[in-house]
C-alpha cells in the first residue's frame, strides 16, 4: 500500500518538467565548478593549502561571517516578530527599509560606511574607541549591513506562517508576552530562524565589494577569502584565485550541509511526496 497518489502519464510528465528545471540549474552550477577544477593545477592547490596568509584569510572569513550571523540573528528574530505580529504607523516603510540592503549594490554599502564614519557621529564613535575603518570589526559591520536583511526577511516570513493562536493560548496558560514569544513563537519558528541564519551566513562569507572599500585587504589583518581571490586575480594568478574560490566553496558546502543536518534531523517535510 502506498501513501502517494496514483500517477498517470500526465502527472509523470508534470513531475519530469519540474525536475528538468532543478536538474538544469544543478548542471549549470556543477559545470561552473567543474570548469574551475579543470583549470586549476595541483601546484596551485598545494600553494593555497600551504600559504599562511590564505589560511589566515579562511579563518577570518569563517570567524567574521559566523559572528555577523550571530549578531544578525539577535536583530532578526525580534525584528521579524515585530514586523509580522504588530501593526504600527510606518510599518510598510519599515518593512521596505529592511529590504533596501538587498537591492543596494554591495559596493555602495562600503562607500556609505566610509562616509558615515567621516560624519560627526562616526568621528565621535571613533573617538570613543569604536574604530571600524581598516579594522576587523569593520568586516563584521559591513557583512552585517549587507546580509542581515536576508535573515530578517526569512524569519519574518516564518513568523507570518506560525499560528498566532498558540501564543494566545500560552498567554491564558500563564505566560507573559515575552514567555509566549520564547516558548511558543520562537520554538515554532526555529526552522525558519535556522534558514535565515544560513542565508545570512552564506551572504556574509561570500562578501567582497564593500570590504575592499571599507576595510581594505591588509594581509593577515583584514583579508578574507573573497578579497584574496580578487587580489590574486588582479596580479594575473588565475589558477591560485580559482583554487582559493574552490576552498571557499568546499568550506561553505560543508558548513551548510552540517547546519542542515543538525537543524533539520527530519529533513522531509510532511508535504513532500515521492517524486516518481
Amino acid at each position: 500500500m502506498s501513501v502517494h497518489p496514483v500517477t498517470g502519464f500526465r502527472s509523470r510528465l508534470f513531475t519530469a518538467s519540474i525536475f528538468l528545471f532543478l536538474v538544469l540549474f544543478l548542471l549549470l552550477v556543477v559545470a561552473l565548478i567543474a570548469a574551475d577544477i579543470g583549470y586549476v593545477d595541483l601546484a596551485s592547490v598545494k600553494e593555497v593549502l600551504r600559504s599562511r596568509e590564505i589560511r589566515s584569510a579562511a579563518v577570518l572569513s569563517l570567524w567574521t561571517s559566523t559572528v555577523t550571523t550571530a549578531i544578525a540573528m539577535v536583530f532578526a528574530v525580534p525584528m521579524g516578530y515585530a514586523l509580522s505580529r504588530y501593526r504600527f504607523p510606518g510599518r510598510i516603510l519599515a518593512d521596505t527599509i529592511v529590504d533596501l540592503p538587498i537591492v543596494f549594490p554591495p559596493l555602495v554599502v562600503g562607500l556609505s560606511l566610509l562616509v558615515f564614519f567621516r560624519t560627526r557621529v562616526g568621528l565621535w564613535l571613533e573617538s570613543m574607541g569604536l574604530e571600524f575603518i581598516y579594522q576587523r570589526r569593520g568586516i563584521v559591520l559591513a557583512q552585517f549591513f549587507v546580509s542581515a536583511s536576508y535573515g530578517i526577511r526569512a524569519i519574518k516570513t516564518t513568523f507570518d506562517e506560525v499560528d498566532r493562536r498558540q501564543e494566545d493560548v500560552a498567554l491564558t496558560l500563564g505566560c507573559t508576552r515575552a514567555q509566549a514569544f520564547w516558548r511558543v513563537a520562537v520554538r515554532n519558528a526555529r526552522q525558519g530562524i535556522v534558514a535565515g541564519a544560513i542565508l545570512t551566513w552564506a551572504r556574509a562569507i561570500g562578501l567582497f565589494g564593500p570590504l575592499i572599500v571599507f576595510v581594505g585587504a591588509v594581509r593577515m589583518k583584514t583579508e578574507v577569502l573573497p578579497t584574496t581571490v580578487y587580489l590574486e586575480t588582479s596580479i594575473g594568478r588565475i589558477e591560485v584565485a580559482l583554487a582559493i574560490a574552490l576552498l571557499l566553496i568546499v568550506i561553505a558546502t560543508v558548513a551548510l550541509i552540517l547546519v542542515r543536518l543538525l537543524a533539520y534531523p527530519r529533513a522531509t517535510p510532511r508535504s513532500a511526496r515521492r517524486f516518481w
Partner: protein, 357 residues
C-alpha cells in the same frame, strides 16, 4: 461569577455593542449566534486577548478588563484547539503548570489525573501530529483545565468533529463541568449542541446580545424573529392583528389565526411547527385545508411544509404520526393551529410589532 457590563469592542467594520451579561458561578452558559455574530470576539475579550474599548468585565467579583490573560484565572480552548505543535501531548497538557512552576511530581500527578478523566492516557507520549479531531479536542481541554481555572472558555469546541464524536464529547464536557464545577462559557452556532449542554443560553446577533434565558424560556418566548429562526421554532409570517378576547386574531394571506397574546396592527408572528397538528379529515379544531408541499424525515421528527390559504408554513410531526398519515407530497390534509401555536412578537410596551429588529 463573570459579568460584562456595556462591553464595547470594535474591529474593522464590526463591533460588539453594549454587551451586558451575567454568568453565574458553576453555570454552563452557551453563547449562540450565527457565524460572524461576534461570539469569538466576545470570548477573546473575556479572555483578555482583545482589549475592550469601553465597559467592564468582572470575574469572581474582581474587575479584570485591564488584567493580562494569565491573571484572569481562565482556561481557553480556541476553535482549532491551537495545540503546541512543537510539543508532545504530555508537554501540551503540562505547559501551563511548567510556566507556573509547579513541582515536577505535582505536574505529573495532575497530567495523569486529567488524562484519566479525558481518556487520553495512551496518547501522552504521542506527537500532536496525527491525532484525530476528538483526540485533539480532549488534549486541548486537558491543557485548558490543567491549572484548575475558575472559568472555562470554549470556542466552538466540537464544530470540527463528526456527529458521533461530537455527541460523545458534549456529554463528557457536561460531565466534566459538573465534576469540576468550573463556570463555563461555550460559544457555538449549533442548536443541538447548545441543547446538549446549556444551563442558560445567550443569543448574539450582529455584536448585540438580544436575549438570555434557559433554552426552554427562550424557546417559549423568543425576543425576536431572529431568535425563533435560530431556534428553528417554526415559520415567521407577517400579518395584521386585532384584539380578540384576551389575545388577538391575526390575518395573514388567506389565513386567520388566533393567538393568546394581545396585539394590534401590523405584526410579525411565529407559527410553532411543533404545536400544529395535521389530520386527514376536518374536525372542530382542524378547519384549515392544507396541501403538503414537501416532506423531510430527520432524526427527531418529520418536517412537513404545507400550503394553506396562500400561506406556506412548516409543521413538525412525530415519526409515528407521519407513518400513520402516510405523508407524501401533494397530499390534502387539515391543519389545527391552536392559539398556543401562534406567537406574536411583542414590542417592549406589549403591542404587536413589525420590523422591530
Amino acid at each position: 461569577m463573570i459579568r460584562t457590563e456595556r462591553l464595547n469592542f470594535s474591529i474593522g467594520g464590526f463591533a460588539l455593542r453594549d454587551v451586558t451579561l451575567d454568568v453565574r458561578e458553576g453555570e454552563y452558559f452557551v453563547l449562540l449566534g450565527k457565524p460572524g455574530s461576534g461570539k469569538t470576539l466576545f470570548l477573546e475579550c473575556v479572555a483578555g486577548l482583545k482589549r475592550i474599548s469601553s465597559g467592564s468585565i468582572t470575574i469572581g467579583g474582581r474587575r479584570v478588563e485591564r488584567a493580562e490573560p494569565r491573571d484572569r484565572g481562565i482556561g481557553y480552548v480556541p476553535q482549532d484547539y491551537a495545540l503546541f505543535t512543537a510539543h508532545n501531548v504530555r508537554k501540551n497538557i503540562e505547559f501551563g503548570l511548567r510556566v507556573r512552576r509547579y513541582p515536577r511530581s505535582r505536574r505529573r500527578e495532575r497530567v495523569r489525573q486529567l488524562a484519566v478523566m479525558l481518556g487520553i492516557e495512551h496518547l501522552l507520549e504521542r506527537s500532536t501530529e496525527g491525532l484525530s479531531g476528538g483526540e485533539r479536542q480532549r488534549v486541548a481541554l486537558a491543557r485548558a483545565l490543567s491549572a484548575e481555572p475558575r472559568i472555562l472558555l470554549l470556542d466552538e469546541p466540537v464544530s470540527a468533529l463528526d456527529d458521533e464524536t461530537r455527541e460523545g464529547i458534549l456529554v463528557e464536557l457536561r460531565k466534566i463541568q459538573r465534576q469540576t464545577k468550573t463556570t463555563t462559557i461555550h460559544v457555538c452556532h449549533d442548536l443541538n449542541e447548545m441543547r446538549c449542554v446549556a444551563d442558560r443560553v445567550g443569543i448574539l446577533r450582529d455584536g448585540r446580545l438580544i436575549q438570555v434565558g434557559s433554552p426552554d424560556e427562550v424557546s417559549r418566548r423568543p425576543a425576536e424573529p431572529h431568535v425563533a429562526r435560530l431556534f428553528r421554532l417554526g415559520t415567521i409570517l407577517t400579518g395584521t392583528a386585532r384584539k380578540w378576547q384576551s389575545g388577538s386574531e391575526v390575518d395573514s394571506g388567506g389565513l386567520t389565526l388566533r393567538s393568546e397574546q394581545p396585539a394590534d396592527g401590523d405584526v410579525e408572528f411565529l407559527i410553532r411547527a411543533g404545536d400544529v397538528r395535521l389530520q386527514p379529515s376536518p374536525s372542530p379544531e382542524a378547519q384549515i385545508a392544507a396541501q403538503v408541499e414537501s416532506v423531510l424525515w430527520n432524526d427527531s421528527a418529520v418536517r412537513v411544509d404545507v400550503q394553506a390559504g396562500g400561506t406556506r408554513f412548516r409543521v413538525e410531526v412525530p415519526h409515528g404520526q407521519a407513518t400513520a398519515l402516510s405523508l407524501r407530497e401533494g397530499m390534502a390534509l387539515f391543519a389545527a393551529v391552536p392559539p398556543e401555536a401562534v406567537y406574536v412578537f411583542q414590542k417592549p410596551d406589549g403591542e404587536g410589532s413589525l420590523g422591530r429588529r
